[in-house]
Symmetry: C2
Subunit: 347 residues, 2 copies
Amino acid sequence: MSRSIDLAVIPGDGIGQEVVAEGLKVLSAVLPQDVKLETTEYDFGARRYHATGETLTDEDLAALKGHDAILLGAIGDPSVPSGVLERGFLLKLRFAFDHHVNLRPSKLLPGVATPLAGEPEIDFVVVREGTEGPYTGNGGTIRKGTEHEVATEVSVNTAFGVERVVRDAFARAQARPRKKLALIHKNNVLTFAGHLWTDVFNRVAREFPEVTTEYMHVDAATIYLVTQPERFDVIVTDNLFGDIVTDLAAAVSGGIGVAASGNINPSGAYPSMFEPVHGSAPDIAGQGKADPTATVLSVALLLRHLGFEAEAARIDDAVAADLVERVALAARSTEEIGDALAARVAG
Amino acid sequence: MSRSIDLAVIPGDGIGQEVVAEGLKVLSAVLPQDVKLETTEYDFGARRYHATGETLTDEDLAALKGHDAILLGAIGDPSVPSGVLERGFLLKLRFAFDHHVNLRPSKLLPGVATPLAGEPEIDFVVVREGTEGPYTGNGGTIRKGTEHEVATEVSVNTAFGVERVVRDAFARAQARPRKKLALIHKNNVLTFAGHLWTDVFNRVAREFPEVTTEYMHVDAATIYLVTQPERFDVIVTDNLFGDIVTDLAAAVSGGIGVAASGNINPSGAYPSMFEPVHGSAPDIAGQGKADPTATVLSVALLLRHLGFEAEAARIDDAVAADLVERVALAARSTEEIGDALAARVAG
Ligand SMILES: CC(C)[C@H](C(=O)O)[C@@H](O)C(=O)O
Ligand SMILES: CC(C)[C@H](C(=O)O)[C@@H](O)C(=O)O
């Protein structure tokens, strides 16, 4: 285990600044004295785009590549046309650093409100493919702006890309007590990609005889996520379906205020990136209203990824304890929540 | 208004048979004496596929074309490889008859259980595009079954196809008391198709100044569907996003046991088709356990489409009354529910 962490920090836009500050506070508090934490802040997002027209240059990528990991707050602002920062920064980085395992745990913690009736037990993790599918940017437009316009989007799926993420998901399922893995796709309609996913899934399954598997269409999966979320243990799915089901999963398991994610390159060839699932929420930015919990939980994923398991667990426990108490507390500011969590992990 | 209905009936597979029988019972009961109802049953689905290898021939299409409308139960059976009946029958029919308006109302009726906490008011309708997007079957596979396999799916979107369904949705929003329309897409990632949808939506909006519009990414929409479903009035969206959000919408507004749909060709050039959102549910087929309500509500959509507004409203009222009483009743069979509804609409 490395006894130092060289971290790239990208606060980004809107509430990104506020939540990242608290994430770093908790990170500093949890690390043992002998671990050297070095952070380098990068100014990406709307401000930089307006000032320079740049979103993410080759030099930026080279600089980021040198770090052990990346902590991101949020990127996005209504002043920038839809798609520019998403494709030009967020997706560019995921693709450049081959972040093919997009990891999104969903756990409904005691004390946390859910829109679902009853007290469902929710504890699953989605392994979303991060570098293929309809996210590749393939496609185009002809006769733009005319009544004869045609726009296409091409979902690209490779055996290589599908197999590595499916294998990662099987390994995660194997390591969990329930050892269940669900493949979510739409193989009755998207038959080309669907058959590739299903074939690879069934083939890799043979190497993991202890893992119980099931297949589910994405439309049916949304039903199960609200009627039987306890059914899920590990889910593996395509980039776009993963985008959709993880937002729904976040909603039912306490909201995007507590949903963390990791954009992981398991090979270590490039640094992995950790970020809250929520966006930059410009409507509440700068008011100290944002919940930093999702960022703090992303820091835990980051620590776990770098081998600091005990420290990651301390953060998870601190968050769980804080959420239970939260019910009885008056609303706290972003900073107050960060302070409370930092005190817990240090204690 | 035509005083006769020439109906094609496709019971299909599994519970399709049972629920369609009850749908027809209610239809007969609700129609005034002077309306001549003629039905022709067609045997499509798994049985026919196994017997002849056929799913839907040119002759079948020619025969179906002659009817005023089509009532479908469900198509699909585990004995048939995934995709064969979906692409070979269901989607083939939607494309052949240019069913571009896929209409799916969601209304949480009193007495109906929802997985959501509280008593959300849910009353919206999704206008799902039915003939484009990733459903066109474009795409392919190379090096199938090898480690170098590549599979693509092409989403095809045209100004013509998007505009007609967007216009239909605006007209529906305009006709409703709240006059709200939400466009759901993923225009920050699927920028080619997303910009086409957004541009067309904004352009058509100018013709409907009374309609309040909003745009929402599909991932965020799943959150709102479980946290603020009362927010929605009319939704317009792409074929695949529509597939996903309508199953979620059905789940939160009483389940697929009560979710109806219409595959509509507004021009009347081809007959429109009405079907419950649920599938053939082979696990409970033949046991009289299936809830025919979704089929009965699909019959109401069918009647409304053919101009029998008063009769459609009688069915909606009968279903609402039956659902309220259902809470106090012991479980009833498919037929008992059908009988109860038929008695109500006749009475
Ligand atoms: C902002 C957007 C590009 C992104 C995605 O679609 O992946 C976001 O929704 C997410 O889930 O991280
Ligand atoms: C069965 C399948 C082809 C179909 C679809 O994806 O449209 C179904 O899910 C639906 O929603 O009607």
